[in-house]
Amino acid sequence: MAREQFKTLTEQMYYILLSLIEERHGYGIMQNISELTKGRVVVGAGTLYALLSRFEKEKIIVQVKELERKKIYKLTDKGYRLLKDEYLRLNQLISDGKAYFGGDSND
């Protein structure tokens, strides 16, 4: 079910999962995504909360502790595999594209 539902991840989903390779709370995830993408990708609090709930329900992430009423999450093994698969898929897209664009990403 989870594989089907998250067969391809949206950009926001991808970066949320990427941030959760390390333990983080909600706002920490938002900050990390912003830093990682230099502000190109932003995730709103409501969107993040809804996605974290869905990921947790599908056992893609797990809550590890709660500090000062802030829930701290991290990826599960299932989540890690899902993220890795997506990373490989995106790499495949890049390498397929190289046949046409070569190594110049600015063209």
């Binding site: 949206t10 995730v43 709103g44 609090a45 409501g46 969107t47 909360y49 709930s53």
Partner: protein
Amino acid sequence: MTNHYKTIFWGFLTLDYKAVQGYLEEMALKGYELVSIHTKLPFAKFKKVTPQKIRFYVDIFAQEEQGSYLGLCEDSGWQFICSKGLMKIFKAKENCDPIPIQTDVETERKIVQSAVINKEILPLIILLPLMFFFLNDYLYGFDYKVLLSYTQTMMLFLAPVFIGFTVLSTLYLLCYILKARKAVKEERSLPVPSIRSAKLRGYLFYTYTVIILITVIFSFIGEFGNAPYIVLIALAPGLVGILAGLSLKKLRKRIDKKQRVKKIVLVCIVSIIAFSVLMVLTLMGISYLSISDHESPENRYRAANSPVLMLQDFYGEVGNDYRYSSFRESKSPFVKEYYNYYEGIRDVGRISTEYYKAANPFVAGIIYEGIVEENAKYESQNIEAKVFEADKVMYFSKLNMLLISKDEVVLFLEGDIDFFTEKSKDVIKETLAGQGKLEE
């Protein structure tokens, strides 16, 4: 101090949450900032401020635990103001330009769909059979008897309001679903209704609610005068429903998740059993109270003081050997007086009277035609109206039934009496003219 605050009607529907955002920003520019919204009543409190530009955000949130959600919004620069139903209202913190709370249109659509649309569509689907029940009266001609009671008159009046509202609500929801899907497909934000149309929908919704409430309350008060015990019994199942609803609401808040399911199931089972038992008792009670065939001096006393015909009106002294008697009366906005009396006396005969005093001759005409239609299977003949100094007279010879209409009065007689003797005609004419025993 009070001049610093202003209370304004707040009729926004949940699905119009995006229009609320614009409305609040518009109010802030006019110098009014939202303070709170009444949780139950449609009123919001605003405080007077210097006209300024304030960023607001209205989000839909339907989950029970909202602490970490609100915390996350606060951390990201949004100050929580208040909730109204599923709407959570925020404003941007001072010197802060926070990113919107929803940044993924598909996620937002799913939240709205599961929190609002699915929940609203379900009641509409449940209402559909009820709508056809109401429509039935209009499509296949309504029974004139509905004019006799407050509750049935109310249902007749509410039917077009109810049908219209249900159809409009369903169309609005369907339009929203289609527009939202299209927006997701085209990677646009979800539909933003105009403030004007959102306000109009709010007014419509609350006008509808008030009309329903007032009509129901008045009809119950009116019906209470007709049949108090039946009204009280009929209210009982509703009372169980309200109690069950309140208990479930309390349980949801107080009990921890593990125990909650068990307790909720228990409350549901108890409520269903109590509801079923009460429904059976209600139906039994109504049928028992409706059948007043029990012969009693009370029936005769009430009949003697009403414009109905009794055997003694035709025969004078009739003795006291009653086999049965029954008396019923009611009133409604359309039929100001309705009496139904029948009696049987051993060795004398029997008579049945239905007396209707309608609100006007038009309603009397509906009742007259209704009775004619009801008895269409019996052979009938029109009698010259002047015989009874009436407007219309019809005689069903096989069952010896006489139907007369004069002005706003309709009289329907049946029995083993010759209605055409001079004495009978006089008695009937007096009753029609309202000069019967009541005047004596």
